[in-house]
């Protein structure tokens, strides 16, 4: 992660003095964005750079659902299965996706293209059912819309 340090230095300047510990979350996010996941050497490197205990970073990585320490498919399909989405057909759409891609939640397609995850409420209940694909929200899903969406994700 050393090549990201100039960026991190700019970020550090935005925080008040003494807030190095706060930089853990944004730095981890950026490292993951860059590499696709957070590697072991990123952890020790970041701990040294920020001057925080390494255990703090390890805890953060395993506590928050968005962080991962292993690579996943190119397109991360994060499917909401909470209340409002379930009340608007999420289960049917999920079954459709599973059948189409041949994977279950937690799995990745053999060609490394899609990883499917089930997630809790994403704050999109008015446009349910929906899912996140990598960073973006895809709302008001129907089977047709899903097919079209997946088609376009290479």
């Amino acid at each position: 992660m050393r090549h990201l340090i100039p960026e991190f230095e700019k970020l550090r300047a935005r925080f008040p003095a003494g807030f190095e510990s706060s930089m853990v979350l944004p730095c981890v996010r950026r490292i993951q964005e860059d590499r696709g996941y957070v590697a072991d050497e990123d952890i020790s490197g970041l701990a040294a750079y920020l001057g925080v205990p390494q255990i703090q970073i390890e805890e953060v990585l395993s506590f928050y659902t968005m962080f991962r320490r292993r690579p996943i498919g190119r397109w991360h399909l994060q499917f909401c299965h909470n209340v409002s989405c379930s009340m608007n057909g999420a289960e049917r759409i999920l079954e459709h996706v599973q059948k189409k891609l041949g994977i279950r939640p937690g799995e990745t397609t053999p060609d490394g293209r899609f990883t499917l995850s089930l997630v809790e409420c994403l704050g999109s209940c008015g446009t349910a059912p929906m899912m996140m694909v990598n960073e973006g929200y895809h709302e008001n899903l129907t089977s047709e819309a899903v097919d079209e969406l997946l088609e376009g994700l290479k």
Binding site: R14, F15, P16, G18, F19, E20, S21, S22, M23, V24, L25, P26, V28, R29, V52, Q56, E59, V60, F63, Y64, T65, M66, F67, Q78, H81, N82, V83, S84, S86, M87, N88, G89, E91, V119, E120, C121, L122, G123, S124, C125, G126, T127, A128, M132, E135, G136, Y137
Partner: protein, 432 residues
């Protein structure tokens, strides 16, 4: 929507979120008024007098929270806008961030001025994409226009803001959990005392307010507390945003004066129930609020006191409308799964209780429920009430006990017959 609007007071277009259009609506006029003609203590007084209640879920009076901070205690003060919005059924802060981010920023500047805050933060849930980009864009615009930084509007007031992205944890929406997260750690909530307004972020006095709560400040300062009190009801002044979802024809975010009739809201503004079905029940304010049956809400107004009176709460304003034919047992399973997934694990009753609730619901839904399970569910809820570090444990208990209070017979049916009375249906399309 009839009635006055404070936050959603303009038609949304492709550019209505920009600084230019915000200013054309009068934006940043309140900041100017505060900085030029009001002392910080006067701002606090005005907000307190307005009776503004928190919009994140607890409805704690905003001014009362602010008053704990001693303006000149020689310590850095922090202000944090809680944009974690993880309560299922709630998506109204998102509307503000996407469509009116500057009202939040202007309000935060006024608040920072009032509370002697030099550094403020917006903690935004990590999954939000467009809301984050709009907010970050607005921050850039505001800096460019000199609304953030040193010597704002040529006064002695300086203020900087950082937008801090979360990483996927509902418990980070709890104010002290949020602070733990903003310190770069796992979002473990903290015991109180000390209150966060005494020792919060890095042990400094900190005010954490919901995005919507803060977004009212600009209007209150511009028009005055008296004008604010004219809107809504005496015990629930002002307007509030509702996120409506579930089985309504027009789900979405609405702003209504407090005191607005509930049925009118659902039938007219929200387009009524899908398929013309009857309302089975409504979750009024996020899944941690107690569910109310269609019969119970028939003559109710949407106000804090009306809901407190019937043992529920407006909470986060996350309204989930549930039509007849929905299986409340299957729905409860989803809720218990949610709390179990989100429990931080720090304290005994919630760590084990949420898992236990989830396992019991799984077993009932799988047709292996036992008669004593209902009492177990109540037991777990009872001993999570008031015994935990934060409200997550209590909330899990309220969610299940609220549903059991109104729909116990459905659970008894499921346990006895080993299947749902409604085929496990959650949608409003299939017939039961």
């Amino acid at each position: 929507m009839p009635g006055r609007q404070i936050i959603m007071s303009f038609p949304v277009t492709a550019t209505s979120h920009t600084l230019a259009e915000y200013r054309s609506r009068g934006g940043y006029g309140a900041l100017e008024k505060a900085l030029r003609s009001m002392k910080p203590a006067e701002v606090v007084k005005e907000v307190t007098a307005s009776g503004l209640q928190g919009r994140g879920g607890a409805a704690f009076p905003v001014g009362r929270k602010w008053q704990v901070m001693v303006y000149d205690d020689g310590q850095p003060h922090y202000l944090i806008a809680n944009a974690d919005e993880g309560e299922p059924g709630t998506f109204k802060d998102r509307w503000i961030l996407e469509n009116n981010p500057h009202v939040l920023l202007e309000s935060m500047l006024i608040t920072s001025y009032a509370l002697n805050v030099r550094n403020c933060f917006v903690y935004i849930r990590g999954e939000f994409d467009l809301p984050y980009r709009r907010l970050a864009g607005a921050v850039e615009e505001a800096y460019a226009a000199g609304f953030f930084g040193e010597r704002i509007l040529g006064t002695d007031f300086s203020c900087d803001i950082v937008v801090y992205r979360g990483a996927g944890a509902y418990v980070a929406g709890e104010a002290s959990g949020l602070i733990s997260s903003l310190e770069g750690k796992k979002s473990y909530p903290r015991n109180r005392p000390p209150r966060l307004t005494v020792r919060g972020l890095y042990q400094r006095p900190t005010v954490v307010n919901n995005v919507e709560s803060l977004s009212n400040i600009a209007w209150i300062v511009a028009h005055g507390a008296a004008a604010y009190k004219e809107i809504g009801t005496p015990k629930s002044p002002g307007t509030r945003l509702y996120s409506v979802s579930g089985h309504v024809n027009r789900p979405g975010v609405y702003e209504a004066e407090l005191g607005y009739p509930w049925m009118k809201f659902l039938e007219e503004d929200c387009g009524g129930i899908v398929g013309g079905r009857a309302i089975k029940c409504v979750v009024p304010g996020g899944v941690s609020s107690k569910v109310l049956t269609g019969a119970e809400i028939k003559d109710l107004a949407l106000s804090h006191e009306a809901l407190w009176d019937v043992g529920s709460t407006l909470g986060s304003g996350g309204m989930i409308v549930i039509a007849e034919g929905t299986c409340m047992v299957t729905l409860s399973q989803i809720l218990m799964r949610f709390y179990h997934h989100e429990s931080c694990g720090q304290c005994t009753p919630c760590r084990h209780g949420t898992g236990w609730l989830h396992r019991i619901m799984d077993r009932i839904v799988a047709g292996q429920g036992r008669p004593e399970d209902i009492e177990r569910l109540y037991y777990i809820a009872k001993f999570n009430d008031g015994t935990t570090i934060c409200g997550l444990g209590d909330a899990a208990g309220y969610a299940i006990s609220g549903i059991l209070d109104k729909f116990r017979d459905e659970f008894e049916y499921y346990i006895e017959h080993k299947r749902s009375r409604y085929d496990g249906n959650l949608e409003c399309l299939r017939s039961s």
